[in-house]
Point group: C2
Chain length 372, copies 2
Amino acid sequence: MTTESSELYPVTRIARVREAVAASGLDALLLTPGPDLRYVCGYDAHALERLTCLVVPAAGEAFMMVPRLELPAAQASPAGRTGVEFVPWDETDDPYAVVAKRLGTVGAVGLADRMWAMQSLRFREALPGAEQALAGRVLRELRMRKSPAEAAALRAAGAAIDAVHELVPSLLRAGRTERQVGRDIADAIMNAGHATIDFVIVGSGPNSASPHHELSDRVIQPGDPVVVDIGGTMPSGYCSDSTRNYVVGEPGKEYLAYFEVLRRAQEVACEFVKPGVTCEAVDAAAREVIADAGYGEYFIHRTGHGIGLESHEEPYIVAGNTELMAPGFAFSIEPGIYLPGRHGARIEDIVICGESGGERLNLTTRDLVVVG
Amino acid sequence: MTTESSELYPVTRIARVREAVAASGLDALLLTPGPDLRYVCGYDAHALERLTCLVVPAAGEAFMMVPRLELPAAQASPAGRTGVEFVPWDETDDPYAVVAKRLGTVGAVGLADRMWAMQSLRFREALPGAEQALAGRVLRELRMRKSPAEAAALRAAGAAIDAVHELVPSLLRAGRTERQVGRDIADAIMNAGHATIDFVIVGSGPNSASPHHELSDRVIQPGDPVVVDIGGTMPSGYCSDSTRNYVVGEPGKEYLAYFEVLRRAQEVACEFVKPGVTCEAVDAAAREVIADAGYGEYFIHRTGHGIGLESHEEPYIVAGNTELMAPGFAFSIEPGIYLPGRHGARIEDIVICGESGGERLNLTTRDLVVVG
């Protein structure tokens, strides 16, 4: 994966981030393990109690605090190629004090968006004069615009989860429980090349009406619509996420009626994507089709979320988000219609905004799939 | 798992935590998804960008902010039995403002130790007068002392990881890579009943000298010592963690000499555990045996870490930690000896402090296991 990772996590990125830090008015970013750290230097460090922290000052060289035990892992990661200085610390050292001493007086620092409170409060003590902001203020502009290598990684993730959806008809039948089907899907997610399983939703019958239902011991019944929403993270760090709808035997007429509406809403929203439109306009495009057909009150969530090193990240496709679409933005388009306590459906693709329109990364049929 | 979970996550715990909050001088705990939230109310919520937050005020009733989409999941979790009020919020609401309004004026709040900066900074804005501290200040005393049900859950986790170590001799042989062996071990961790794989370290030959080495494509050679350090999380939420040492064929004489020292050091430290001794004294007990034999400089990490809902939590068995052992404390005892670039060994058991001494939860042989 060396070539792939050197394109995904180019050694020049730290320098680019440093320029962005300087332009932002922050004095430094403090990046603990998580997607921000991985984006900037490629190091997929474990989030644990011992401090690992990449410090990217606006002026001066970046350095990374690393527990001495983790030094070989940090050096072996893509971060080892960046030339960043590793500063190992020992079990009884205070790594926060080391960061404070090296930084000197600072006015404002940007914390990794997922930095744990046990660390952010220690940095507050160690840097008492520094205002704390989110690193996302600097990194969001970079992270939202996927590079060609990142787009390729998302395409590979899309193909992997598509392969799992292709298998679902062979796993889903009346008499099995959601959990049994879910377990087989989980195995298939790993077999398709993911490094981790992020979520497996199998919502059958009335459970299909609860958008974030996961798995239960409910036995799937003849005639059940089933929402299957699945995703994982590839070894590259990039995530997959796709939802398809299955029905065991004969679907009901009412269900078929709104499924057609949903199919159209998802299509319209995908076609609406192009540089310069707002995120909220994409949400509205899907919502309008559904509302016009009389199902507005049953579409109870936003249309989508960004995706990349996180399965949910910016940009969010939601009312109120006036961010303008730009080439490289990657996000889900996943409208849903849910009749409470009865049944529901959701169709989800990951879409990347290109120069003139959106490219879907999930290519399995969006039609209702009749199984068993 | 209903009975098990009602003992592990008793409905009375929120009330007990509330008393502890009042005694601490904090006005409220703010618990986002993670081990603190799960400990207090049993809800194993996904950590995502939408705010889920259990608010436990010192005075007044606890309530939980929940994205409306997650409401069925929250209600179905053990938290649903506690009587806590769920406050659902919609996609375009500001849940931080809702918390601030309900709390009124507060002087100090305790944040879940793993609360993300994207949330702690929002709470700082929403509650501008409130000092932020760690919820751990209140929860550590409770979480460190495992209840009988928690001890039973850790025992079950110990038995599960022991079952994996029993399989290792059938997986480990010259000619396979660490990664191949690691993949089989990962499958075995799931098959043994874990819900997730937390880490798989297979350090062969010189890699055995790097304590946090994970997996590489190195081909295992005849004569290699191999450190296997593995752990996962059970469906109960409780973690396993155990390290054993294998050798492919004939071990070297020098290795055997320090392995014997290590064996003794681990034994001495386990026997040293009882209520009233300090955590650092347990560390010193292991360290002394190793130092006396002349290997002190090769024992480069602390002796252990607490374990429970996190694979690393308090108490840490490390110099400087003067916390007194008490019944219910659960932690690893895992001294190691590492000759840089050559080879190394580590023996790790999870130990629970009882009324008069320690109980080991890992029972597979601690002797060097010759394979292949």
